[in-house]
Symmetry: C2
Subunit: 296 residues, 2 copies
């Protein structure tokens, strides 16, 4: 069995490292020569085109940024034709449920099967091989992907036999992640200007009913000047955009998600789009006329 | 030293039980004869008026619903005059920082000192004696309240020597608690109508980056028909109202808190104000035209 990966950013490279460590050889491709070099350093076999990476593979892991990139790499190239007949495409990018269904249908036309397999856990989980994988697709796709799932996941949720089911859970999950991050920024903004010591406020809230995973994880990054980019502001504009699209498709009004989306949009408009997503706090700082550090 | 309590609702009664269990005798008052009876059953000494309960007490714990009730019980009666000279009033209701400062100033005019001491942990924490207490006030107030704090608290945060400081931390904390609860309802609404199994969605989100204390605690109550009232929808209208007032006073725009406040307001308008606060999900159900149970 032959395995390939396309998309060697922070997430894809972390997953690739754990797959290679598990003794599964891989070919791989990324637009960035630096990413291909890091893949080589991890023991992978880079190729110069996506078709070459995919050639003859029985399993192709796709970990690009969004659905447009996934469509582009699968269908605007000869990747779908380069794969082994009946191969499985494991799509781990976060995409709208409707996009997951459409991509699966186009793969089916080419005689390929898809595992809809978005992940949660971020770069830390990707590096550690402890991702939460939400997965749906035919039994055969699960069978084919099994060794790779073992290598990258702490837990695998089997959510049905159709593409789009796992994407739905992932997008709905992102509602909470994205809004909670904006809540953390809103809380720190109010606290700092109302006279609370930021570290004391953080300690109180994270040990009480106001805690969230995002509060614990991101507030310390709000309190430093240039945090490393674990995930960017623009990624949450994408993910909350998928949340709002899913709400529109399903017929569910989402007032909190809509408000949070505006705050990420503002932070990006201010020039922080490619910075760490904790920089959403910059939009609150702009609105209150002072920074977290200038507390009164 | 003589100790009294006014306000024997779910929170006050739980705290009283732990104080009595710690061997501190107490007089107490509540408008409700049922509450006074439960206080008697717990070993307390009920009185028929707040003045009688407060008479000669060195420490008075006030656990009423809001600042208006606190002002009414302290100043529209003879309670302030009935206390021992120089007595300490421990105000544990959630009130605006400006209200805490004003009440402390009026008590000071009467020769009394105040411990601004709101709590977090809900009825469960009150019953267990594991509340988180946020406290600020003069050293003498802390000294006087010390045995009572020991009896009711898992942790006491000392947040300064002025009334209003602790109230600020508590109100800012409630921003996160209230918005996170509305987020949980928004997530369950989207998930259920987009086709997720509610229990599976809950399991995924609470074990990933989307988790919050409120998500873990309140979603199971959203999924049953008539949950016991741990805290009501109207309490969060009050608390998020204090959040918005504090934002207005400090000059901080709070778009997520404002949106969450509207959802609690709607749930109350629908007739759920005195029901469990998890019923905020009813506002989402109204907006999506189906209940969590009618999932598609």
């Amino acid at each position: 069995m032959s395995t390939a990966i396309i998309g060697l950013g922070a997430m894809g490279l972390g997953m690739a490292r754990n797959i290679l460590t598990a003794g599964i050889p891989m070919t791989g491709y990324d637009l960035s020569p630096d990413a291909r070099q890091r893949f080589t350093d991890a023991g992978g076999t880079p190729r110069d085109t996506p078709e070459d990476a995919a050639k003859g593979a029985d399993l192709l892991l796709v970990m690009v940024v969004n659905a447009d990139q996934a469509r582009s790499v699968l269908f605007d190239t000869d990747v779908a034709r380069a794969l082994a007949p009946g191969a499985t495409v494991m799509l781990s990018s976060t995409v709208a449920p409707s996009d997951a269904r459409e991509i699966a249908a186009r793969l089916a036309e080419a005689g390929l099967i898809m595992l809809d397999a978005p992940v949660s856990g971020g770069q830390v989980g990707a590096e550690a091989g402890t991702l939460t994988v939400m997965a749906s697709g035919p039994e055969a796709a699960f069978d084919r992907a099994d060794p790779v799932l073992d290598a990258v996941a702490g837990i695998v949720h089997r959510l049905g036999d159709e593409a789009g089911q796992a994407a739905t859970y992932k997008v709905v999950h992102q509602l909470a992640a994205g809004v909670h991050l904006a809540v953390a920024a809103e809380l720190m903004a109010l606290g700092s200007k109302a006279g609370c010591d930021p570290q004391t406020l953080y300690d109180i809230v994270t040990n009480a009913a106001g805690n969230s995973w995002m509060m614990s994880d991101r507030v310390p990054r709000m309190l430093v000047d240039d945090p490393p980019v674990a995930s960017s502001v623009d990624i949450f504009i994408k993910d909350l955009g998928l949340v709002l699209q899913t709400g529109k498709d399903a017929g569910v009004a989402l007032p909190l998600s809509a408000a949070a989306y505006q705050m990420f949009t503002a932070a990006s408009a201010m020039g922080h789009g490619r910075e760490d997503d904790s920089r959403v706090v910059r939009a609150y700082e702009a609105l209150m006329g002072q920074s977290l550090k200038d507390r009164t």
